[in-house]
Amino acid sequence: MKQFSELISAIEITNKTNAKIAALVNFFKVADDKDKLWMIALFTGKRPSRPVKSSLMKQWCAEITELPEWLFLESYSTVGDLGETLALLLPPPTHHIEKSLNDWMQELIQLKPKTDEEKKKYVLNAWSGLEAQERLIFNKLIGGSFRIGVSKKTLVNALAKLTNIDANQLMHSIIGNWDINSITFDELLSGSHINYDNSKPYPFCLAYALEKELDELGDVNDWQAEYKWDGIRGQIVKRNNELYIWSRGEELVTKQFPELTEVFKTWQHDFVIDGEILAIKDSSVLLFNDLQKRLNRKNISKKLLEDVPVGFYAYDILEFENKDIRAESLEERRKKLELIFKQNTAENIQLSQIVTVENWSELHAIREDSRSVNSEGLMLKHKHSPYHTGRKKGDWWKWKVDPLTIDAVMIYAQKGSGRRSSKYTDYTFAVKKDDGLVTVAKAYSGLTDAEITEISRWVNKNAIEKFGPVRTVKPELVFEIAFEGIALSNRHKSGVALRFPRIKRWRQDKKVDEIDTIESVKDLIVGF
């Protein structure tokens, strides 16, 4: 496992994608065939199911170290990762075990049906034969995310660099159906188990933020306006009775959205459609926060499917009956898209509606009101534009509505996870209500590393609690919080729910008596 362990060490220390790719390429050059396949399996969600429950691992660690539970929890909240906490708490190894990644994985698969006693014997023996870093990896082989910032896309880019095979084809190959015991590394990469012709996506056409006045765009009748939706851009590829869904990050997400896959499979025609994957319930678009609950899950429960049903708004068509039509004008393509939607209907799959206006000024009001339908603004596309490759200026513009902002005070701070586990990075904010404060938002992004370091230091000095992961702090630090929308909510104590809150800036110039009140926050609700 030495090579794999070195790979993890090399990747975890750097936050530069190129350095990660270089380490991966190096690993794929030197590692054994089976180990390479396991590496791919582990980082693409194809790992075997967890053979040992984490609660048992915690229990065994407590027995060995004889530490009280509270001290274990303090350690855990400092480290921010269970596998790493266990690896650090256990006593130094008494001997050294050297096994290939493949041997470990095969043994762990066989361990799954065994009794807890047999599992304990096996795990304890491994723990006492591995150094802290190897132990951490062993714990991760049993289960849990490595949290070293290697996405499927990073992995695919490394493989593409190694082989010169098209990255999207590699994406299909590693996501596709393959079994580690009946395929070689070369076979996997060559894609002998898939038919890439059926899944091949096109590069997405991307828009720039509008940077001029509307009337500078020319005649309003030359433009198609649509709402801009805040979901996941997706490409539906239907060819020869096979269906694939690609995300904008060029990952295959077909299995994550069964309610789209099942419906599109039954539709007439072969096509490639560009659109937005959204959480849609009772014909209304839900917040991105809701859609997030559906992402990157290995299993989607029935309850989750009911709570957050997924739908699709179609923007454009790139291929029709196996013919690339990207060079045709948007107007022409739209006709074909409308034809498909005339012949096929589904409640959760709709055409993106065209916003029709007589003149530019009408659009201003529509954009201002876009929050009321949970949209983040408008898209403007020239009717004669082809479907460009990548980001190109001039034909497509996004015209987002400005975020709303309030000033709020920090009242709780919590440590982050992964790279952020050493610092207080997750904050809870409050505004004034009567004589006290009321929580309005949690946010964990928008500050620089230097600011986070400074705030963490302040939290350490000003925290009220001494134990546990959450620190209550003196309400003193004021922040400007930006968010995309606001609605009344019974589930929140403050009575309002903010959409996608994040920290806009740290207002070191403001004092706590200058923050917003819950009334001034509610005034931001449209029509309240």
Partner: protein, 339 residues
């Protein structure tokens, strides 16, 4: 009868009428070691270990009034018998032992119990009351043996050389820098930043021999440093000077590097858990060896370590002090960066 009192100015010895590592100006300050959070400016009179004197003069001012003692050389002040004992933290670091009418109190300052080949090893002392630091007071902190650490750092440097890269190690000028020098001694020429060079001079003026180093001038020639070993204070991370180092591979040497999140936070190429503080086992070992009736826990994980000691049957209380102040370290690092 109480010998010590925790005051706003620092730890006060009541019968002796002097302070231990005070953070506000006082008449008579007994200093455990030369770090900025323990040895501050503004005292009318300082008492420290022989090897700390020139460090203090270099850090604070040449005209301060300083008196020195060797380890285990007693001095009586107002009826209190005071003596210094090796703390193993940095060169000149001392535990301060106070004895008055048969009662003994020990203040550790900062310490580590593992040997590091550069400081005089920590000496366990029996006492009635033990005032201990707790910087790394969590069981996740367990340091590797010095030889293993050395091996890791050597491997890293050799690999850098093989890849045509210059190894840059970061550690505080006082203490960590000298420890790193000892760890990498003999591998290649060691270049040290100006701030470290000056501290080295202050240490050597007390007759201590340090590994041979070269002063890294701000206007160095790239060819002169290529593939060599450079030691810089942490304030230089991300500095222009670091950017001028050809093909730099960077590493932080600090106990905090034990945790992966910390290693990744700083955006360096490597992190080595090299610490001059006691790890969890070291803290427990020192507390147990003291056989103290009462333990006071200062800076670090004071609440956690005191709670744990009480649970295992050792009476302990946490004490809030101004030691281990990161802002002071940061200010010092900033100052060093401009030297």
């Amino acid at each position: 009868m109480k010998i010590i009192k925790f005051t706003k100015k620092g730890i006060y010895c009541i019968p002796g009428k002097f302070y231990l590592d005070p953070w506000l100006p006082v008449d008579y300050a007994v200093i455990s070691h030369g770090h900025a959070d323990h040895a501050r400016w503004g005292m009318k009179h300082y008492l420290c270990h022989t090897h700390t004197k020139n460090i203090l003069k270099h850090r604070i001012s040449d005209d301060i009034s300083v008196e020195t003692l060797d380890y285990n050389e007693p001095k009586t002040i107002n009826g209190v018998k005071l003596s210094f004992h090796p703390a193993g933290h940095i060169i000149g670091s001392a535990q301060i032992r106070l004895e008055y009418k048969g009662k003994v109190v020990v203040f550790t300052g900062d310490y580590k119990v593992k040997h590091d080949n550069i400081t005089i090893p920590f000496e366990p002392i029996k006492c009635h009351e033990f005032i201990t630091e707790s910087t790394f007071g969590l069981p996740i902190y367990k340091w590797l043996p010095e030889e293993t650490l050395q091996q890791q750092i050597h491997n890293w440097i050799l690999q850098n050389k093989a890849n045509n890269r210059t190894s840059v190690l970061f550690g505080y000028s006082l203490g960590k820098a000298q420890r790193i020098m000892k760890l990498v001694e003999g591998l290649d020429e060691i270049l040290v930043h100006n701030a470290i060079y000056h501290i080295n001079n202050a240490i050597e003026s007390s007759g201590i021999v340090l590994p041979e180093t070269t002063r890294l001038d701000g206007h160095f020639n790239k060819a002169d440093v290529q593939n060599k070993i450079i030691i810089m204070p942490p304030g230089l991370l991300g500095s222009k000077m670091l950017k001028r180092v050809p093909n730099a591979a960077t590493a932080i040497c600090s106990g905090w590097m034990q945790v992966r999140g910390n290693r990744r936070w700083r955006g360096v190429d490597a992190g080595f858990a090299v610490s001059d503080h006691a790890d969890w086992d070291g803290l427990l070992q020192a507390v147990k060896a003291s056989e103290a009736e009462k333990v006071y826990v200062t800076h670090g994980s004071q609440a956690i370590f005191a709670k744990y000691l009480n649970e295992i049957g050792i009476e302990a209380a946490e004490v809030i002090t101004e030691y281990g102040d990161n802002e002071l370290e940061a200010a010092e690092a900033k100052k060093e960066a401009t030297v």
